[in-house]
Symmetry: C2
Subunit: 318 residues, 2 copies
């Protein structure tokens, strides 16, 4: 029996929809404003300037969380996944709507812990939950959250230039040993980097360097990487894990070399304790590299000039 449905005396089906909605308001507390700003009408009515960014992410039992993860952390993770996307644009969060897919057997106390975890994260990052949707399922337990945000200079993918240096925050690999749920989205770091004019392109690492680094690189380029510099999460973490594990939720970006020459990393170190590592630089694509299209730029070992063969990062639907 899964923890999320282990209390038949406490099942959602005993509450009904109106009871559940009333509980949700209580559990969310101050992060759920009353209508018209919040849930309770056909749509939420937003204040002016709620943002120029929009992103959506899901969280599914058996995929993004399991029975071992406390529901409070699962609820927080749903929001933090979206916040990490905003961070990678240099944005700050606005408001969110929540969709829940719930079997009638869902334990009300499990759901309360999940929603309270979400609410606590929302309070921490000042996100109002302004609307939502509840759908009854046969057995599937999942959630989706859509988040607005605002960035004065959104930092896009795919905009690296030849000669740029490649940087990554924090450490990589082995995320499933806790980090996938306890990570802190790099919102402050992302906003700080977006204000540095030499920072050119950025992404959050969620599917491994092998997939996410090529997303920064135009087709005519490649990345030459210093493997000895890779910031691995644990002493037992292998370089391959940094390339193929998912859920690092770290920021990967390129910057004009003028940024480090001008003391960018030193300014970073006074602003954040988060580690910052130079992984390598953007070089011309080797003439013999196969197909040139976005997302296929080769990753090379800077020492040998040879292609790395760690695999393509996390592949969904395979």
């Amino acid at each position: 029996m899964h923890p999320y449905c282990e209390h038949p005396d406490d099942a959602l089906s005993r509450l009904g929809e109106l009871g559940l909605l009333a509980r949700l308001r209580t559990w969310l507390g101050p992060v759920a404003p009353p209508p018209p700003a919040g849930m309770g009408d056909d749509t939420a009515v937003l204040a002016a300037g709620t943002g120029n960014l929009l992103t959506t992410d899901s969280l599914v039992h058996g995929r993004h969380f399991d029975d071992l993860l406390p529901p409070e952390l699962a609820g927080a993770k749903l929001l933090k996944r979206n916040l990490s996307d905003l961070a990678a644009m240099g944005g700050r969060p606005g408001v969110a709507v929540l969709a829940a897919f719930l079997p009638p057997k869902t334990s009300v106390r499990w759901l309360e812990a999940f929603v309270r975890g979400l609410a606590e994260a929302a309070a921490t990052w000042e996100v109002a939950i302004v609307g939502g949707d509840l759908t009854e399922t046969t057995a599937f337990l999942g959630f989706n959250l859509t988040l607005t945000g605002e960035a004065s200079r959104p930092v896009l993918r795919g905009a690296a230039r030849l000669g740029d240096e490649l940087w990554v925050t924090g450490t990589l690999g082995d995320s499933l040993r806790g980090h996938h749920a306890t990570f802190v989205p790099r919102l402050a770091e992302g906003a700080w980097l977006a204000a540095e004019s030499e920072v050119r392109t950025m992404i959050d690492v969620t599917d491994g360097l092998g997939k996410d680094l090529p997303a920064l690189l135009p087709p005519e380029t490649a990345a030459a990487l210093d493997l000895s510099a890779l910031p691995l999460r644990f002493s037992s973490t292998t370089p391959a894990q940094a390339f193929t594990d998912g859920e690092d939720y770290e920021l990967l970006f390129s910057a004009d070399p003028a940024w480090s020459l001008g003391g960018g990393p030193a300014r970073w170190a006074t602003a954040f304790r988060t580690p910052l590592t130079r992984l390598g630089s953007v070089v011309p694509r080797p003439a013999d590299a196969p197909e040139a299209s976005f997302g296929t730029a080769p990753l090379l070992d800077a020492a040998s000039g040879r292609p790395l063969s760690f695999g393509p990062g996390y592949a969904h639907f395979r």
Copy 2:
């Protein structure tokens, strides 16, 4: 075997994530703009003025559509459910993000038809699909769409006043015989009504009059209804179905009596062929009615003054 997974040679698992993303862009066509305005970066970057409304709705196999419904209609229905919510605020649509929960056995041609149906509806109502999220599931097939919108005067629920007349568009009940999928969201009608200053409060009827009409009424009021006026969908449709069936997607609103005295219904008839019916009026809550809180206002038979007993509308999670 369900139609959505009846072609093992055509399963999603043969495409993989990148293949699926490329197909999705093709299927969506012009309604999916390139990044940064559209999908392909960490978040979508929206144009200014994308809206002050935000709403989310889901569509789940076995609940909101079944194996008999052509996938094109299911895809369109996902968007139209959200558009109906905007219509009930008097809003016009902005942009949307799509979350899909897909088992690996999903047939690619089924999914193509679903997405093309969604894209055609998006083109009709000028909605750009600017982002999304794909999640692999074991067996669950479901979707969520979050939509922005804009209304200069959002028409809220719960704002009816004593003496207001109650009106409904179209016909009610028996929605499962086709209307639940073929309905046209009342966007034009909703925007027109929002521009009429005497229109006070509005909702879209999705859970039956029994549940949605009380949502317009403050606790100290009740609705006195002329049952003989109920616009029933078919000759075989019963009044009880208008009160308890769901998915009418019609607009229910109250207006100051000055609206009809001033020729509002006649102006409506020149603007729309959509039927408009006066259901009754807002009266004081009877002294003997139980608990007075939002959403519990009694519905009375205007002829007898007695409470109607059709049941509370569609109840989820029961």
